[in-house]
């Protein structure tokens, strides 16, 4: 890979995580458990979509081929998306989406922290902006985990089931592939092994405070970072890309 190709591909992957999670959160609009939560969900979703736009725009700049943020979002097929399987999982109930956010954001915050120090200035600058947003998201998702885990018997059982169900999607976050290695070695990028240790510690603390049981070590799903997605993902893209696909080349 050429020197500029590494940050371009890496920024695309970061953009994919942000866009796919943002799109999932958009599906929750007008379905929140309380009106105030409706505003919070929209804020977070707007943050993620904003991050995706910054990462894609930067990736396009690195490529130098004239692609736009919308080309990345709307004109790539499923296998070119490199987001984590975790973020594409369907919303389920409020406990499911809370756990999904908590597991991802616990990792994403550490990743962004590290990226603010990386040698690629473009990515470091976006990370510095994004981390403020994601710190606030994590505050929100972790507080909700505690409220649900240590709430009623029903909420405890529901959110425990969410945790058990989504746990198998966390392993992928820490498996370094060629791109992660290149970022680490050539750009002082994130060390996923170090992040894993910190993530384990932080998540264990949230889980304990929420009076939940951490799931046992288990088989972990992976493939998102290689473009092999779960079945849900095709529908998400089909819906999101609908207009651009039906009316190719139109301006909106």
């Amino acid at each position: 890979m050429s020197n500029r190709a590494i940050p371009a591909t890496y920024a695309t992957r970061l953009g994919d995580n942000a866009l796919v999670l943002g799109q999932r959160m958009i599906e929750l609009v007008a379905a929140s458990p309380e009106l105030e939560e409706e505003l919070a969900n929209a804020n977070f979703s707007l943050d993620y979509i904003g991050q995706a736009r910054m990462f894609y725009t930067y990736a396009a700049e690195c490529e130098g081929g004239g692609r736009t943020e919308d080309d990345f979002a709307f004109l790539r097929p499923e296998h070119e998306y490199r987001n984590l399987l975790l973020v594409e999982q369907p919303n389920g109930h409020f406990g499911d989406s809370t756990v999904r956010a908590l597991l991802f954001e616990s990792w994403y915050v550490l990743l962004l922290e590290s990226l603010t120090q990386c040698a690629d200035e473009g990515i470091a600058a976006i990370a510095a902006r994004a981390i403020k947003e994601v710190r606030y998201h994590l505050r929100h998702s972790s507080q909700w985990l505690v409220r649900l885990g240590d709430g009623t018997e029903e909420s405890h059982a529901r959110v425990q089931a969410s945790l058990d169900k989504l746990w198998c999607f966390t392993g992928e976050m820490f498996v370094a592939d060629e791109l992660d290695d290149a970022m680490l070695n050539e750009f002082n990028g994130p060390d996923l092994a170090a992040i894993e240790l910190q993530w384990q510690k932080n998540v264990a603390a949230f889980v304990a405070e929420a009076k939940l049981e951490q799931p046992d070590d288990q088989w972990m799903a992976s493939g998102g970072k290689q473009g092999k997605h779960t079945e849900h993902f095709g529908f998400l893209l089909a819906e999101m890309q609908h207009l651009q696909r039906v009316y190719p080349g139109a301006e909106w």
Binding site: E34, E36, L39, A40, N43, R139, H140, Q143
Partner: protein, 95 residues
Amino acid sequence: MSKQEWPLYEVFIRSHSGLSHRHAGSVHAADDEMALSNARDTYTRRSEGVSIWVVRSDQIIASDPAETAAFFEPAEDKIYRHPTFYEIPDEVENL
């Protein structure tokens, strides 16, 4: 309030440092932390604030409109508390 409804909080926002907090509106929240978050997510979306206070609405002690006359009218005739009450010749400066 029904069994399920979260309590009401009043929200006060400081828009810039140097200014006092001002009443912005209210939110419902199950606990104090949530009240702060909800206030942030509702009332500072357009960079309206640098600091937030929230207080349970039922904790505010307010004057009674029925006592408005007794509370506030006695101050109205104490005009000597205002600088304009005093006549000073124009030639005297710096007063």
